[in-house]
């Protein structure tokens, strides 16, 4: 199993994407399937300039991603994710608007205070950074570790490394993150906008080596941590406080059907 939890949704607003954009997205998904990926998350990056309130979602769903476009075409489990940019935690629209409608919730803090406030107060899964620009604040070891202890994961998005003008920024942010986190609580994802930018498992292992991640953490970053994030995210919606859930498999996205054999067994054990 291989995870890629960041495939950007073409539009950042609630406008529907054009047909060509959808076709490009499908080509990425086809490539991922070819490279033996199994679990994919489509990432809706909400435009921070949009000021949304509860009234806006009275009629439409907060989730613009239409998964029915990809039904029966790919042998992939496709989830939805939202990324919210956090500038000032005070005028934050509130996660409750979105938490019921997305499988994963990620935040992108723009300053130190937003990061520490989000970690202590909000319920989300992933912390992401803008790897195309330099980080404007110093990541403190304490803040990062308290996040990792609470089950939040820091994301490395490797698409910018493939473009020459953003490569140095990517490396500097990665260096900052790996130093602060001591390569714990990190996961890696593509953020690919074109099908060429998706990499195989072997490439990811080499990339981890380049950004100086401890060798024994590499397998965790590629396999374990994404699956942990996926489970905690799915449990938020599918279960009641992680105790009872619907269906028989939490990670299953297809429509659930009860096994015929199961019913046969139950019928045989019924009272005669």
């Amino acid at each position: 199993m291989l995870f890629d939890l960041n495939i950007p949704w073409p539009s950042t607003t609630y406008a529907a994407p054009s047909a060509s954009e959808i076709a490009a997205l499908k080509s990425i998904l086809a490539m991922l399937q070819h490279l033996q990926y199994t679990h994919i998350a489509l990432n809706f990056q909400l435009d921070p300039s949009l000021k949304l309130t509860k009234k806006d979602f009275a009629k439409k769903s907060p989730n613009p991603i239409d998964l029915s476009l990809f039904e029966h075409q790919f042998n992939l489990k496709i989830y939805t994710r939202i990324t919210l940019t956090l500038h000032d935690p005070a005028d934050f629209p509130g996660l409750k608007l979105f938490s019921d409608h997305f499988d994963l919730i990620a935040i992108k803090p723009l300053n130190d205070r937003a990061l520490s406030v989000a970690i202590t107060n909000f319920d989300f899964d992933i912390i992401s950074f803008n790897y195309k620009e330099n980080l404007k604040y110093w990541l403190r070891n304490k803040a990062v570790h308290s996040g990792a202890a609470k089950g939040k994961y820091f994301e490395i998005v490797y698409a910018p490394v493939l473009q020459p003008d953003t490569r140095k920024n990517f490396l500097s942010v990665c260096k900052n993150l790996v130093r602060a986190s001591r390569s714990q609580g990190i996961l890696i994802s593509s953020g690919a906008e074109r099908s060429v930018q998706v990499k195989t498992k072997l490439d990811l292992q080499i990339m981890c080596k380049i950004i100086n991640i401890a060798p024994h953490r590499v397998a965790q970053i590629i396999n374990e941590n994404p699956s942990k994030v996926m489970i905690s995210g799915r449990l938020r919606n599918q279960s009641y406080k992680q105790s009872v859930a619907m269906g028989s498999d939490i990670l299953e996205t297809k429509k659930h059907k009860i096994d015929d054999d199961e019913i046969a067994v139950l019928r045989k054990l019924q009272k005669k």
Binding site: A149, S227, I231, Y240, Q242, G247, K257, D259, A264, V265
Partner: protein, 396 residues
């Protein structure tokens, strides 16, 4: 004055006695004493009963003193030593035994009556005796303690039955021989059978249907159902282990008999093949073979079931290491085939199982380790879900 006072005493019947006493008291030659001498009256005083040994000692004293001991004189003669040679001890013992035997017979009769009455309901005698002891004032026991001892005993009995079957394993070559031996040892050790408890499951399904689908016309959304289920009683539910960290528990199925904080006590049906490589389909096939009385493969060499699976019975399952699945049937009247189950978008789960009229729920064991009483009151909390990866994560 003294004379007047003494005259009222009943000891002095005539005035002559009084005069004598007073003279003796105040004369110089008489036996003057500064106190009154009181004689024992001999009536209105009895010594308390003493043990047999005490009686023996006192008799020895009599021999030594030559019958002079005052203490013995005071005790009435019928209560002195129980080993009185005049008493016919054999008679007495026989009498005592007869009365005791009568009492025992009475108790046995009442027990027989009770057991006859309850045998029709197929509850073993042990259980009745145990539950009788709840009312026993001397050995007061709570239901929990009684049930614990019951579980302990039946599990040990199961082990004995399995070992008995193991001992004669090589001699049993035909299906019929196996069945006879199996039935015999199940009966001898009183191992509870799945069929006896299916009515418990029927009771539970009625309860859970009322709880989860109170209004048949407007079914609740999934997010309203789940909190109700998390605080529901699970005794009587049919539970399947979908995944476990322990070896050999996967795909185990049974009725919940009791729920502890960390354990489910479940009753497993006989002939249920369990193992990490056994799928539900194989389980189904083998179950038909069991019910038709096929215990040996067609070559006649290998047996299809282990002795453990043949015996069945009670099993304790730790919640911490398992993920459970329960299946809840809809109320029959709620869903007809043309009716759509719900109009909400969120509960697509409800729609698709319409064909079967069944709903599946997962119980995440590591987050479920509360007593059933506490579950309804305690506020559950979502935590770091990293420890659930082994159980819920994608398998490849």
């Amino acid at each position: 004055m003294e004379r007047q006072l003494l005259a009222r005493s009943r000891f002095f019947n005539s005035s002559v006695d009084l005069d004598e006493l007073l003279q003796a008291r105040y004369s110089r030659s008489g036996s003057q004493k500064s106190y009154m001498v009181l004689k024992p009256t001999g009536s209105g005083f009895e010594e308390s009963e003493k043990s047999l040994l005490h009686g023996l000692e006192s008799q020895e004293n009599v021999d030594n003193d030559g019958g002079k001991s005052k203490r013995l004189k005071n005790i009435p003669s019928n209560k002195v030593g129980r080993l009185d040679p005049n008493v016919d001890w054999e008679k007495r013992v026989n009498k005592y035994n007869k009365t005791k035997a009568k009492k025992l017979k009475k108790i046995a009769k009442t027990e027989k009556k009770q057991s006859k009455h309850i045998d029709s309901k197929r509850i073993p005698k042990d259980v009745i005796r145990r539950f009788d002891s709840i009312n026993d004032k001397k050995n007061k026991k709570t239901t929990r303690l009684v049930f614990r001892s019951y579980v302990k005993d039946t599990i040990s009995n199961q082990r004995k039955a399995i070992s008995k079957l193991n001992n004669c394993h090589e001699q049993l070559t035909s299906n019929q021989e196996i069945k006879e031996a199996m039935d015999k040892w199940i009966k001898v050790f009183g191992i509870p059978q799945y069929d006896d408890y299916t009515s418990l499951n029927e009771l539970w399904t009625g309860y859970i249907q009322d709880l989860l689908f109170p209004n048949p016309k407007a079914p609740l959304a999934a997010q309203q159902i789940l909190p109700k289920l998390s605080s529901a009683e699970l005794i009587g539910a049919i539970v399947r282990v979908t995944d476990s960290k322990e070896v050999g528990l996967k795909n185990l199925l049974g009725i919940v008999l009791y729920e502890y904080k960390n354990f489910f006590v479940i009753l497993v049906p006989n002939g249920l093949k369990v193992g990490d490589n056994v799928s539900i389909g194989q389980q189904n096939e083998l179950l038909t073979k069991y019910q038709t009385g096929e215990f040996i493969s067609e070559d006649g060499k290998t047996s299809l079931f282990t002795n453990k699976e043949l015996v069945g019975g009670i099993k304790m399952i730790e919640k911490k290491t398992c993920i459970f699945k329960i299946i809840v049937p809809f109320k029959d009247k709620v869903v007809s085939k043309n009716e759509s189950v719900s109009s909400n978008e969120g509960d697509s789960e409800l729609k698709m199982s319409k064909d079967y009229n069944l709903l599946e729920f997962l119980i995440i064991g590591p987050r479920f380790n509360f007593k059933s009483v506490d579950r309804s009151n305690k506020k559950l909390k979502g935590r770091n879900a990293d420890d659930l990866v082994d159980l819920l994560g994608a398998k490849n």
